[in-house]
Symmetry: C2
Subunit: 429 residues, 2 copies
């Protein structure tokens, strides 16, 4: 058997401790499967005294992760600190620069500094693996980077944030309001005290930028992702969607066009029988379209100590077994500069809910606004009748450009009878 | 860039020709992703004159695949001949023995001779990859053998045969009878002229035996798989199942027990909202349970030139890039001898449909038979009333052993009023 692979783990929160535990618990199996023993030789975290439920005997303690990355007697550095800047970034750079492989679950770091880190890994001849950064336990990075590598990927889309999916699923199942369900999710530990990273779509956008780089062989371009969150989704929109045969999901989507890649994260209506519609609760799911394979769907737990540790340990085992893959599937020099297309270029169908005063001529005004922007209606439904009081008007619109749709919505908003900004959700077929 | 990887392809049917085409079409991408060019240098098939829609210029033609495996100037042998014996087996053995890597889509060969072939590959220091053998384009072998390798797998189950799934889906959607839908599937090319390999569950069992070897680190044991096909499923069973909240699927299932592994392929009722229930038509889907990752689901096209070629080319690229994995995840010497448990050990719930003469005392007789074998009823429904004529009685039974269930069914069959052998389908929760 080959020499022991020595590992240093920085960050011993739920996930970091989960990695240490899994390496210990399934140690024999892991050694058998990758042909050598894997041992944690060093650890670092903020508080040495804290009980983390895993045995740290025999591991060298470092107060400072960067020092550990540089100086610890290890072959591989596991980063579980988090955040795109500061210690996480410095420690990963230090590890790569000193010829150590890096395994990380840090999507923010990769989304913002992925290309530079990939270059650093390449220069030092080491691996930078990050399966746990996207969709937790689902081996999606491996599927795209290796299993489906013979394909030209046309598009990738996914439910990439379990918190948002839990909130939307619960809203649909219970009919309750967003704020109410969010508060419950916080109480259950499914959402952070400050939930903005999740509910505003930033976390999903980090993951999408990584997937887009990998799918299309381009430099990571987080800034090029159009991002909208779920906080504007009303319970009533979810109900109308269901009546129309749709479910509301927060999707991350990346598609190749002739002149660039469109990357976007926003709520969408998907057909109720689409595979992605069946991904419910805290689960994540990713759908890829490859030119040879067609549609491929992967689904599983997107977060939590177990799934994340599973992904991190899988990455470690690849390195232990000497299996190497370029960070974004091709050498950094082959990555295309990122041309991210504007959201205005989006071409698709739309759902729009209007709050209007129920009086003669309202529908005529709305339909005229649409006609003037050449937006074609699929259906229009006025819910309830309540003369001179506010009622909902729900529209679905045939495929058009985002730009035309926005102009039409501006015209509609200018109508006297329309008393709230239109509630628009894009429809993905 | 490293030296060109030279490939010989044996068998140029739809899939073999698809592999050649994909290697040509995405050649630049493939070279970029695996760091070297991949070129087909030799081919073999039955009829040299046939037009296969792919360019064979510059490739050496062999009339005999075994000779090609032994003598062609190549590093890697792609086997697309099929069948567990004869030329396919001889050619793979010849290739491995002469130090050539082998990539195959041949599930029958691996299910029957997998352990011996793995040993031969190991002795010769070459790879034997077979992603395309199970679930076509879905990278399930890679997920289990690498991505989820840090997990102890508890169970794996899957819809592994697209023909059966297409038939069952269409029966449910249209209410039509099995024979009718099978004939249509044959006309559409979804089923073979002799469909027995598919509809009798043998094809799914080949795939399951491979998955079980991989999941549990055991020698392949195709003979240990309990196999039942779908030909006894009536349209009416599918309808009753749906009323009860279930779908009928042909599942392959393997579960680890303390004293062995249970491997079985048979029709089951699964809950309508289970992930596997959403895998419809010609799609395949696999659900794994790992101790760290929890539930993981992979879904995609299980057959066809494109998906199969995608899997074969992914396998080739791993070899081109120098990434090696033991055939069944661990060295052959570490594989456990296969202890396959008898189906009698199955413990679960059951659906039973009886054809009975509608007369007083029938239900009393049935329930007494169940009581005598300590089988506990969950529900009993008599469909229709038609004194002294045949009617359906549909039962669902709480969890019990297969052995007890069979004894109870024998007692029921012996009742005068019961005029057909009971139609039993196992329920999987």
């Amino acid at each position: 058997m080959a020499e022991v692979l020595k590992i240093a783990v920085a960050g011993l929160g739920t996930v970091g401790a989960g990695v240490v535990s899994l390496l210990q618990k399934n140690g024999d199996l892991i050694a058998q499967r990758c042909g050598r023993h894997v041992t944690v030789t060093a650890v670092s975290a903020r508080d040495k005294a804290k009980d983390r439920g895993c045995d740290l005997t025999g591991m060298t303690w470092f107060d400072d992760a960067v020092t550990m990355a540089r100086e610890a007697d290890c072959d591989l550095f596991v980063e579980q600190i988090g955040g795109s800047e500061g210690i996480a970034k410095e420690a990963c750079e230090a590890a790569l620069s000193s010829g150590k492989h890096v395994v990380t679950a840090n999507k923010a770091l990769l989304a913002v500094h992925g290309t530079a880190l990939a270059r650093l890994a390449e220069e030092n001849g080491v691996s930078l693996n990050y399966e746990a950064a996207v969709a937790g336990g689902i081996p999606i990075i491996k599927a795209m980077r290796e299993g489906l590598a013979g394909n030209r990927i046309n598009s990738v889309q996914g439910i990439l944030n379990g918190t948002c999916n839990y909130i939307l699923t619960t809203m649909r199942e219970t009919g309750r309001a967003y704020a109410d369900v969010l508060a419950e999710a916080q109480a259950l530990g499914y959402a952070e005290a400050d939930p903005s990273f999740d509910v505003d779509g930033v976390d999903a956008a980090h993951k999408l930028a990584i997937l887009a780089a990998l799918a299309f062989g381009r430099e990571v371009d987080f800034d090029g992702v159009h991002i909208e969150g779920i906080s504007r989704i009303a319970a009533v929109d979810i109900q109308y969607a269901e009546e129309l045969g749709f479910r509301v999901k927060l999707l991350g989507m990346a598609e190749a066009h002739d002149d660039g890649v469109m990357q976007r994260v926003h709520p969408v209506l998907v057909k109720g029988d689409a595979p992605i519609a069946a991904v419910e609760g805290v689960f994540n799911g990713v759908v890829m379209e490859g030119d040879a394979v067609g549609t491929s769907v992967l689904e599983g737990r997107g977060a939590g100590a177990g799934p994340t540790a599973s992904a991190v340990v899988g990455d470690i085992m690849d390195i232990a077994a000497g299996r190497f893959v370029p960070v974004f599937g091709v050498p950094v020099s082959a990555l295309q500069p990122a041309a991210s297309l504007s959201m205005d270029r989006r071409f698709g169908a739309y759902y729009v809910r209007l709050r209007v005063i129920d009086k003669p001529g309202v529908i005529a005004g709305v339909t005229a606004a649409l006609r003037d922007e050449k937006v074609s209606m699929e259906s229009i439904i006025q819910r309830g009748r309540d003369p001179n009081e506010p009622v909902d008007v729900v529209l679905t619109l045939h495929e058009t450009t985002e730009a035309a749709m926005n102009r039409a919505l501006q015209r509609i908003m200018d109508l006297d009878a329309v008393i709230e900004p239109p509630h628009m959700i894009r429809i993905e077929r």
